[in-house]
Assembly symmetry: C2
């Protein structure tokens, strides 16, 4: 988010995000500095939303089938004085990577639009518009990537109805992400989960959620590390990601505080206290996927406390 | 907890505690200023633990069947240089009330003993000894009342094996407790719970646990209030407590932030931001039980950040 000055054209940098965050399934998420999508936006006299894709992902250009388009159409239903937007999108966050590619499109679009309109909407309102975009991508209006993308930093979605977003202060954290080039369909990742869980596992999970939130707010790295444990989702979903156990083992050996599946995968993220460790974690992750013969990308970055960034031209 | 000076005799004030704390089933607890048990303790040449009960509760005097005795015997198994303790107990916290009566006995005993021994044990070690006392009362070595009784304030039990206690700073909070004079057996309160819960309910619960921990650490009263929601335990257990729904409704009407069952009941606690509200909550609770013709006690007090207090004589 940025200043209240409006302008006729803006460039928006919309970052990747990590949702779920191990024990925090469906409630926790944080924004990254890299990778990020670039979007150029302007107000138009042409009604509705004009989408221009500048990358090779062949995403839909029809506004109501495009994530950024869907989010902007939701905003336009409220901003009845506005005719239309044109959005030129250059995605760097690969769709399906599990680091909030669709959330970046949706969040970037509404933050950019809001800037063009003199920042008339609150972050919470922008999240609600952007959730219509997420719905186009996944069929579900979830906010766990959208919220950190718009607010920046780490966010807790305490509840969804009504939506209650709690920004959480966090100490400096380095993030290593590996994206193995395999496909995990979000629907498969959803379907594989059991509808019921053992109460004793749920208790352990909410002990860890409490510990993680406390660790972040108290800047207690050791507590953050101990709390990065998932006894419910990870044991089930990790079977969809080849090499997961090895990557985690190598990362912990390299000194990572902990980590796990990013979103619904296939990306895996690890948190570290400093850059050196984060780079050693990257080496360990890379070794695993090189050995398995699976192509991969890695990112070594930090938590992005700003979220979507608007660059005025 | 107090100074490192030792003395030959101490008086210990061991406070009541509220465990579970709505969404924080089995993981959260806090200490109260009132009521509290009074224990006079001294080292003896007589081996083992001598229990002298000064109240009318007819609790066992045989050390291995007494909660304070069991905790002290656990400590004596470690402190092999010590012969024995004599403990004179005047309980003000009624056994079975759901506000940590047994935890007060166990925690008070080990904190007092530690003082007599020059404070050789850490709070975490004392919790472990005291858990042997809790086992005598409930058959389970749980720490959710013991930990806040020894540490004071609000505590999170992030995990039990190994035990991980996280003290949580909290803003000033008033607590209203009503203890309806009915019996809820801890074993019944346990047996009534389902072994499995819906994943969607568990997610909502850990969203609330995250929100409550954040609300406490950020001194955000509104967030604390919104997070005091329990979709798993309360709907089941509250049927064991006549008048529960009415008490909660009256308390919210009177301005309470929220609250619920204390421990496994029958006591009900409500949190308020100031004393006036807490007293109006007390009036609402009292009216309900007067109308139902059920005898009751009430307490209006604050969170006790000190925990067990040792008075040197």
């Amino acid at each position: 988010m940025s200043s209240t000055l409006s302008s006729s054209q803006v460039t928006v940098l919309a970052p990747a995000t990590v949702a779920n965050v191990v024990c925090g399934f469906d409630v926790l998420g944080f924004a990254l500095h890299e990778p990020y999508d670039t979007m150029r936006m302007r107000l138009t006299d042409k009604p509705g939303v004009t989408i221009i894709n500048k990358d090779d992902y062949n995403l839909p250009t029809q506004a109501e089938r495009n994530v950024a388009g869907g989010a902007l159409l939701a905003l336009l239903r409220d901003a009845t004085d506005v005719v239309g937007f044109e959005v030129e999108i250059t995605k760097a966050i690969m769709p399906g990577s599990g680091i909030g590619s669709s959330a970046a499109s949706a969040a970037g679009a509404v933050v950019g639009a809001n800037h063009l309109l003199g920042n008339r909407y609150s972050p919470a309102e922008l999240v609600r518009f952007a959730m219509y975009g997420e719905e186009i991508a996944s069929g579900v209006q979830h906010a766990d990537n959208i919220a950190p993308c718009i607010y920046g930093g780490v966010t807790l979605i305490r509840a969804t109805q009504p939506l209650d977003i709690v920004p959480l202060a966090a100490p400096p954290l380095w993030v290593t992400v590996v994206h193995p080039q395999i496909e995990v369909r979000t629907s498969d990742a959803r379907d594989i989960l059991k509808k019921q869980v053992l109460l004793k596992d749920a208790i352990r999970q909410w002990g860890n959620v409490g510990g993680l939130v406390a660790g972040l707010l108290k800047s207690d790295y050791a507590l953050i590390g101990r709390s990065l444990e998932d006894v419910i989702i990870e044991p089930v979903r990790s079977i969809l990601i080849p090499g997961f156990a090895d990557v985690k083992l190598e990362a912990k050996k390299a000194g990572a505080l902990g980590g796990g599946i990013s979103g619904s995968g296939p990306s895996i993220f690890m948190l570290s206290q400093d850059e050196d460790t984060a780079r050693q974690v990257e080496a360990g992750m890379s070794e695993t996927y090189t050995r398995l013969g699976i192509d991969f990308h890695t990112y070594v970055t930090t938590i992005n406390s700003e979220g979507v960034r608007v660059v005025i031209e």
